[in-house]
């Protein structure tokens, strides 16, 4: 914790950043807070802890309003991937963001089944090995087609279309969301037309989802959407050898023409 506070204080004092988005202990549990030179005094209330918040989402809003200020932000492994993607998707500017890394604890890593639970460099926490193959995916891939169908339809039909998963997702930065297009998803009907609703969002996640898991945590009906997006990332890796958020070059495979590497036989297998 101390190391983090020292780093942030140093960044602020050296005017490298104009503000730092981190977690502040408030009434006994951490909450997102903008540390700045004006409230340096409260630095010791800055905490890390295992609780995760969509700090990138806040960063997007803030840097949108103050485009010429530079902000620091606490980033875990997934958040850093988020930053890399947001730069590629031109939602942030490279020289306006200074990430400060935190390595996730092994429990958190297990919980997230994250394949890289640590940023490129970090101030707090030690490196724990990522999980190669998510057990949740294996569980579902273990089922036969009928079981999978009933499992997912039951899950999807719990949805109350609160758009919570979209609102919390740092990578959903669209001005207006096509899932609210009356012609596409009928309004005034619960549960929303499935699987169209959820699968459409899943397709949007190609080249976007950084597997931070906030969507699933935000979902009031506990729909395993994270598993869905993990599968998306697996598909994209398998077909196009592209890992979202890993490198700062290269665009998501569905956003460039590129060369044709697939044959019809791969698709219609």
């Amino acid at each position: 914790m101390k190391a983090m506070q020292a780093r942030v204080r140093k960044l602020l004092e050296e005017n490298k950043i104009d503000g730092f988005i981190g977690l502040k202990m408030e009434h006994g549990h951490p909450a997102p807070f903008m540390f700045s030179r004006e409230n340096l005094g409260e630095m010791e209330t800055l905490v890390v802890g295992d609780v995760r918040y969509p700090l990138n989402k806040a960063l997007l809003k803030v840097s949108g309003q103050y485009p010429d200020l530079t902000f620091g932000v606490m980033v875990r492994g997934c958040d850093e991937r988020g930053i890399t993607e947001l730069l590629k998707w031109n939602q942030l500017h490279r020289d306006r963001v200074i990430p400060v890394g935190v390595a996730c604890s092994s429990e958190l890593a297990q919980l997230c089944e994250c394949y890289k639970p640590y940023p490129s460099d970090w101030v707090v926490g030690e490196k724990t090995e990522g999980i190669a193959k998510s057990k949740r995916l294996q569980k579902i891939e273990g089922m036969n087609q009928k079981e999978r169908l009933s499992y997912w339809l039951n899950q999807f039909n719990k949805c109350i279309k609160c758009y919570g998963c979209r609102d919390v997702c740092p990578m959903c930065f669209c001005e207006v969301c096509s899932l609210e297009d009356r012609n596409f998803i009928l309004t005034g009907k619960l549960p929303p037309e499935n699987p169209t609703f959820h699968l459409s969002r899943a397709v949007h996640m190609v080249g976007r989802c950084i597997d931070c898991g906030l969507c699933e945590e935000a979902c009031p009906s506990n729909i395993p959407v994270r598993t869905l997006y993990k599968k998306i990332n697996e598909i994209v890796k398998e077909y196009f050898d592209y890992r979202t958020g890993e490198s700062s070059e290269g665009k998501s495979p569905l956003n460039l023409l590129g060369e044709v590497t697939l044959e019809l036989s791969d698709v219609n297998k």
Binding site: W89, E175, V176, S252, L257
Partner: protein, 1418 residues
């Protein structure tokens, strides 16, 4: 497809040029458009007429491997989509038939088993098919062309079969009788002429009464022709056909007695037709003729046929040679005569009776004595005949009837015993009574008439048949009856009798040229006959007619000589009434400023090369035929089958240079493309073949010289496993009819071998088209010795006549990219010539002001098409129309016979006004072919053309669900509902106009750059020409002569002069491009013009012509020994100081140095020609010089092959080496000086040997230009893996880039010769002028647009656009679509997950609507 609809193009198809005269800029042209017998404006291409057409012939399009009909279009979707009926002159059989019966018509219909239709065709000209089918001596078979193949077609037998077959099925053709007319006509005589006349008059509505002297109807048919040849029921039946029309026949009422001609007129008949026939019998005029037993032939047969009692002698002699004589003899037999013989004074050939009758008589026991005539009837005392004294005859000179006159031979008398004599030497009409009633009669006793109208000397009286012609065949009489009826009809209507009528000319058999070769022969069918025994017993019919199988077989033997047989079935089938068999050819005359000749080529017909077996062996095919076999629209629908037995071949061989590189057969040139299409066919065949295919190509040189061609060849060898055998093929034999072939060939090592194959493809060469010579004369242009169009030096597209340009294979064999380049080049030359007249004749259509429908409630009009029966035959169109009424926002529905026809367009426009429609939906055929037509109509109706939607209920519904009408109707309703759903959401789209800078920037001042700059300037456009170096000319500065001897330096200086002082061209020497931006029509380029200053140029188009580089090798001591030169250096040396090289003893040239290897895996194309050129130049200097050219493949393609031959004739030695052991050059001490020794393993002889050479020329590669990368960045144009620029489409857009407005030409595209560079440069100029010649650039209608408020600038769409039409705008942090560049592929719209991009015309909500409505009811 585009051409068919272009406003400024008029297509005259099925036409030929008649005449062109005038001078460049103003020619008067006459063109003849052959009649299609179909009105192009009415024909909708629906395809009904070929379905009913009975005439099948080999389809040229399918290379003869499949059939097409007489009415056809070349291929399914050909433009113009109008059918054509192919007609030759009328076939001899139809012309020979006196009654003009359409023989080919009914034979063709019979061959298809359509007997009802066949009968209808016959009855148009002959009401009595049953009768004539039996007794007609069928003159038609006499001139039938089939006789030239094997035997004539048994036409008469077929006609009889048709008559019997339809009668037995008690069907008959429906005859429509015109409405009743008051006048009544009298017909004298109920023979074939009288009955026919009555029949046709009745058809025309006249009341007819026939007066028959005898007690029976039918004249000669019933009283002369015996029952065993013409059964009475048949006769009665066909007479009934006449009486059914209300004709009254009065028997036993002869005219001439109490009833006279005048009496008839008094009784009220308005006209009389005399058809009494010729029942009078000619007497012998010899002594003793009066005896009781001497009977006239006609009377004998009449009594016999009427069943009158008559006693018959035991030994009967019949005198005469006609049908009456034969029938008399055979009837006598049947009446019990023991011995019957015939005396005829001429020989067999002259006998008028038909052969079948003579044969039948002989087979029934009648003996015939030729060249004999009776001179006295010998009578016993009580007057009973006991014999004849006769005399032998010999044939003398021809008499009036064209037959030789019989002359008695003195002293040759002889005696014949007989107790009865029948005299049948000819009949004569009993027309005595006519004299008195004012009807002139000829000396021969026949009625005298006007031969054309059959009018007699008395007004209102006509005559025909035997009464007028004397004894002749029944079919002649029928025709006379028909002609008489026509005359009487005209007479009674008071019309002129002669107008528009002419007599039929004599028909003659065609010569062999008209008959398709290779017809398999098949024997003529013969009818079964009654056994001789049974014949004698009674009067049963002897000839029993054809069985159905026989009739079909026989009808199929018809060669369809007239091609279209005018059976008129198509006229009935055509709902659009577009067919008119009388349409004439039309001649159109117009003026043009220039002429471009592009008649293409003709594939060499390898039949003369007997040993290759083409034409003999079915499994030897030409490459075009194989192309059809491979094609999905081909005869085997793309499955690899061989013609002989349809088996899938396992081993296929290709034989190259068939009809090319063959000076002996007058085709010494190389056809340039066969190597490439052989490899392609080999690869495609492997794809199409179910099991692994072994494909082998037998070749001499593998000439794959074009762009990416060599890589294609290497891949074929390595990846696709195509086997290449360098050899000379001598012959192909077939193994005893199994269809298996064996190819005999000799390889380089001299060994001759045979290999078995299932199928052999001959890569036939490209020869000038047959009509090429004739066309050249008409256009006044010269051809070369092979018949290709002669080009001018350096300007391949110019012909010998100014103002006339040529392009494509006509001026020399070439592939499609080359052809397209030349064709654009020719357009450029023509455009330059006529620049001052640009836009003078182009049509600018004015449209009514466009109604603003924004905000209006959708008011949709739905037009459902029947398309004749094409849709209506399967889909219940009224049902669909009714259904459409109920759909939301539909305010008007209608269904039409042909929605695409001209008049329906007017209806649509009318309905738009009447019902204030603001959306139109048409349910008919495919929008691919008809959407532009309907959009045009909307524009003319004042509606935005995009407020239109189509439902394809024909090609994708009725045509493909023919057996499921309910399913098809259901689908049609769904498709209409979907179309209406989308129509409700359509908005008008505007095509925005963007102004443009009408000037061009050409980068690169070499030969190509200069050529395109000059052409554009000549077309009147401003041109800026940028050259990096200090002088123009580029690599051409180092070239002196072309291979055909053209003086390059002279031409170069002439071009440079024209450039420097051309008012429209600004030259920037020593300048480079430093930056460029903008897009088509609005480029801005910054130039560094040397000495640090920069200049900005605004231009509409850019042409890249930055040339190439000569490869400087390291090996072979190049640069280390002045005796080693590159091709260019040697050429410069030979031109500037030839003496240096005159006294060389040995010269060696090594080909492919730096080409066709890993580093530069392409063929540099020009080095073979350059080496041959230099070698020939050296031989000129010193004929004794030994010159060796070491090559891998000699690629002197096209007309350059002649120079390759010349080089060999002049003793230049060509040694082939394989790339693995290419030549080795070493320096060796010898004779006191450094010798340059070239060691080589010659692939032909197989051993290695060395040559000490005084001069070594390396044919070095042509490399891409060094600053291709830089320019590719500036103009966003791609480079291929070899470093040359990558054009938009290798074949169809070889000088365009994908990014519009940027073009390329010259070496930077691919190595090529100077002429080819100049052609490509002109092509680039032409393509550029299509942009510069427009005042404004119009954007496409359906393009993408980005909603500013929704876009978050994530640039996810940027790299999805193939045309880089989307750009990111920094200050607004949003993306924007460049409307000019966007082509409307929709890729960006589908990528943007927030849906802020939409493709106009295909918005997401429109597609969702279609999806939703697709299944609403089901």
């Amino acid at each position: 497809m585009e051409l068919g609809r272009h406003l400024n193009v008029k297509i005259l198809s099925y036409s030929e040029v008649l005449e062109v005269e005038g001078e460049p800029g103003r020619y008067r042209v006459r063109v003849k458009e052959h009649s299609r017998f179909i009105d192009p404006l009415k024909c909708t291409g629906c395809g009904e007429c070929p379905r009913v057409c009975p005439v099948e012939l080999p389809s040229e399009y399918q290379g003869g491997l499949a059939k097409r009909k007489a009415t056809y279009i070349p291929y399914a979707q050909s433009i113009p989509n109008v059918y054509a009926i192919e007609k030759a002159e009328r076939p001899p059989c139809t012309m020979a038939c006196p009654a003009g019966v359409n023989v080919q018509g009914y034979v063709a219909l019979t061959s298809q088993g359509r007997y009802q239709d066949a009968l209808e065709v016959i009855k148009r000209d002959l009401p009595f098919p049953g009768i004539l089918g039996r007794i007609c001596p069928h003159p038609c078979e006499g001139v039938c062309n089939r006789e030239l193949v094997d035997e004539p077609v048994a036409i008469c037998g077929i006609k009889r079969y048709v008559a019997d077959r339809v009668k037995s099925g008690n069907g008959d053709t429906k005859t429509t009788v015109a409405e009743r007319r008051p006048e009544r006509v009298a017909v004298v005589g109920s023979g074939p002429a009288g009955l026919a006349c009555a029949y046709y008059l009745a058809l025309r509505g006249y009341g007819v009464t026939v007066f028959e002297a005898l007690p029976v109807v039918g004249g000669m048919l019933s009283v002369a022709i015996p029952e065993y040849r013409l059964p009475r029921d048949i006769l009665a039946d066909e007479v009934k056909a006449v009486t059914d029309l209300g004709v009254e026949i009065r028997v036993n009422t002869p005219i001439g007695g109490d009833l006279t001609l005048d009496g008839l007129f008094e009784e009220g008949y308005k006209s009389v037709f005399l058809a009494m026939g010729a029942h009078g019998n000619l007497p012998l005029n010899i002594r003793g003729e009066g005896a009781k037993e001497v009977v006239s032939g006609v009377k004998f047969l009449r009594d016999f046929n009427l069943g009158r009692k008559m006693e018959i002698g035991q030994k009967v002699v019949v005198v005469g040679g006609g049908n009456v004589a034969i029938d008399g003899a055979r009837s006598a037999l049947r009446l019990g005569a023991k011995e019957v013989s015939i005396l005829y004074r001429r020989s067999r050939q002259e006998m008028p009776a038909s052969d079948e009758e003579i044969e039948a008589a002989i087979s029934e026991g009648v003996t015939i004595t030729y060249l004999a005539a009776p001179i006295e009837v010998l009578v016993e005392e009580e007057g009973k005949v006991r014999g004849l004294r006769c005399i032998r005859m010999r044939l003398g000179p021809l008499d009036a009837s064209g037959r030789s006159r019989p002359v008695p031979i003195e002293g040759s008398e002889f005696y014949v015993g007989a107790d009865m004599v029948v005299v049948a030497i000819g009949q004569v009409p009993e027309a005595g009574f006519l004299e008195s009633s004012g009807v002139k009669v000829t000396k021969a006793g026949t009625v005298d008439v006007d031969l054309l109208t059959l009018a007699t000397s008395r007004q209102g009286v006509f005559a025909g048949g035997d009464a007028q012609t004397g004894p002749w065949i029944a079919i002649g009489a029928v025709e006379a009856g028909k002609r008489g009826a026509e005359s009487i009809d005209r007479y009674l209507r008071g019309e002129d009798l002669r107008q528009g009528r002419q007599l039929r000319e004599k028909a003659k058999q065609w010569d062999l040229s008209g008959i398709p070769l290779g017809q398999e022969t098949s024997p003529r069918q013969h009818m079964q006959h009654l056994s001789v025994a049974r014949r004698k017993a009674g009067f049963e019919e002897v000839e029993l007619g054809f069985s159905e199988k026989q009739a079909l077989e026989e009808a199929k033997r018809c060669l369809n000589c007239g091609i279209c047989c005018e059976c008129l079935m198509c006229v009935a089938a055509c709902k659009a009434q577009a067919i008119d068999h009388k349409r004439e050819d039309t001649i159109s005359e117009f003026e043009v400023g220039a002429v471009i000749v592009s008649p293409g080529f003709e594939e060499y017909d390898p039949t003369p090369l007997y040993e290759l077996g083409y034409g003999r062996l079915p499994n030897v095919v030409t490459s075009t035929e194989f192309e059809r076999i491979l094609s999905a629209s081909g005869p085997f629908e793309g499955h690899l089958r061989r013609p002989s037995d349809g088996k899938a071949p396992r081993r296929v061989a290709w034989i190259q240079c068939v009809g090319s590189r063959d000076p002996a057969n007058g085709c010494g040139f190389c056809s340039s493309v066969c190597c490439m299409f052989a490899i392609k066919e080999a690869e495609i065949a492997r794809e199409h073949s179910e099991q692994p295919l072994d494909s082998t190509i037998f070749f001499m040189d593998m000439r794959t010289y074009g762009k990416d061609f060599d890589r294609y060849y290497e891949q074929a060898k390595t990846v696709h496993g195509v086997r290449f055998v360098r050899s000379k093929v001598y012959g192909i034999e077939e193994l005893d009819g199994t269809g298996e072939l064996s190819v005999r060939f000799t390889t380089e090592d001299g060994k001759t071998r045979r290999e078995p194959f299932d199928l052999v493809v001959l890569s036939a060469g490209l020869h000038p088209p047959k009509e090429g010579r004739e066309l050249a004369e008409k256009l006044g242009i010269e051809l070369d010795q092979y018949g290709f169009c002669k080009s001018r030096e350096f300007m391949a597209v110019d012909t010998s006549r100014d103002g006339v340009f040529s392009c494509g294979a006509f001026n020399g064999p070439k592939d499609i990219p080359e052809t397209v380049m030349q064709s654009s080049g020719a357009a450029a030359r023509a455009s330059a010539l006529l620049a001052s007249a640009r836009h003078t004749l182009t049509r600018k259509k004015e449209y009514p002001p466009e109604k603003d429908v924004a905000g209006e409630e959708p008011r949709i009009g739905v037009f459902v098409c029947k398309c004749g029966i094409n849709i209506a035959g399967v889909v219940n169109v009224p049902d669909v129309t009714e259904y459409a009424k109920a759909l939301p926002n539909v305010v008007f529905t209608d269904n039409n016979l042909y929605t695409c026809s001209q008049d329906t367009q007017e209806i649509i426009k009318q309905k738009i006004l009447e019902h204030r429609l603001n959306r139109v939906v048409v349910a008919s055929c495919s929008p691919r072919t008809h959407e532009p037509l309907f959009r045009e109509t909307l524009k003319e109706g004042g509606l935005n053309q995009y407020l239109f939607e189509m439902a394809n209920i024909r090609d994708q519904c009725s045509w493909v669900h023919a057996q499921d009408p309910t399913g098809a109707t259901e689908k049609a309703k769904d498709l209409v509902r979907m179309a209406v759903a989308k129509a409700r959401l359509i908005e008008p789209l505007k095509r925005m106009a963007v102004d443009l800078t009408p000037s061009a920037l050409v980068i690169g001042g070499g030969m190509a750059g200069m050529a395109s700059a000059l052409n554009l300037a000549d077309q009147g456009f401003e041109v800026s020409l940028v050259e990096k170096s200090e002088r123009l000319g580029g690599i051409a500065n180092r070239i002196h002569r072309t291979i055909n001897g053209g003086d390059v330096q002279a031409y170069l200086h002439q071009q440079i002069d024209r450039i420097t002082n051309h008012p429209k061209i600004r030259v920037h020497l020593g300048s480079r491009v430093v930056d460029s931006s903008g897009y088509v029509g609005n480029f801005v380029t910054r130039l560094n013009v040397g000495n640090g200053t920069e200049e900005e140029i605004r231009h509409g188009v850019t042409i890249l012509a930055i040339g190439g580089q000569e490869f400087k090798p390291e090996e072979y001591y190049y640069g280390k020994d002045e005796r080693v030169l590159t091709g260019l250096e040697l050429e410069e040396g030979l031109a500037l100081h030839p003496e240096r090289y005159a006294n060389c003893d040995n010269v060696v040239m090594i080909q492919c140095v730096g080409s066709r290897n890993e580093e530069h895996p392409w063929c540099s194309r020009v080095c073979c020609a350059k080496s041959v050129k230099n070698a020939l130049r050296l031989k000129e200097l010193n004929p004794e010089m030994n010159i060796y050219i070491l090559y891998r493949d000699m690629r002197t393609y096209g007309l350059m092959e002649d120079f390759f031959n010349e080089a060999r004739e002049k003793g230049i030695v060509f040694l082939r080496f394989d790339p693995e052991d290419s030549p080795v050059v070493t320096k060796v001490r010898g004779h006191g000086k450094d010798l340059l020794q070239v060691e080589i393993k010659d692939a032909l002889l197989g051993e290695r040997f060395a040559i000490d050479t005084d001069l070594l020329q390396l044919a070095t590669a042509v490399l891409p230009p060094e600053d291709n990368k830089v320019l590719s960045q500036f103009y966003k144009v791609p480079i291929n893996q070899d470093g040359f620029f990558l054009e938009a489409h290798m074949k169809l857009r070889p000088v365009d880039f994908a990014t519009e407005g940027v073009y390329l030409c010259g070496l930077c595209h691919n190595p090529k010769s100077i002429e080819e560079s100049i052609s490509q440069a002109n092509a680039a100029a032409s393509r550029a002028s299509t942009i510069l010649s427009k005042e404004k650039l119009e954007t496409e209608g359906a393009i993408a647009y980005i909603d500013k408020d929704l876009c978050v600038g994530c640039r996810g769409c940027l790299d999805v656009c193939p045309y880089t039409a989307i750009s990111y705008v920094d200050e607004k942090a949003k993306c924007e679509v460049n409307e000019v560049l966007c082509k409307g592929c929709g890729g960006c719209a589908a990528t943007c997950s927030s849906g802020s991009i939409a493709l106009r015309g295909f918005r997401f909500d429109q597609i969702y609507a279609q999806i939703e409505k697709a299944f609403e009811t089901m």
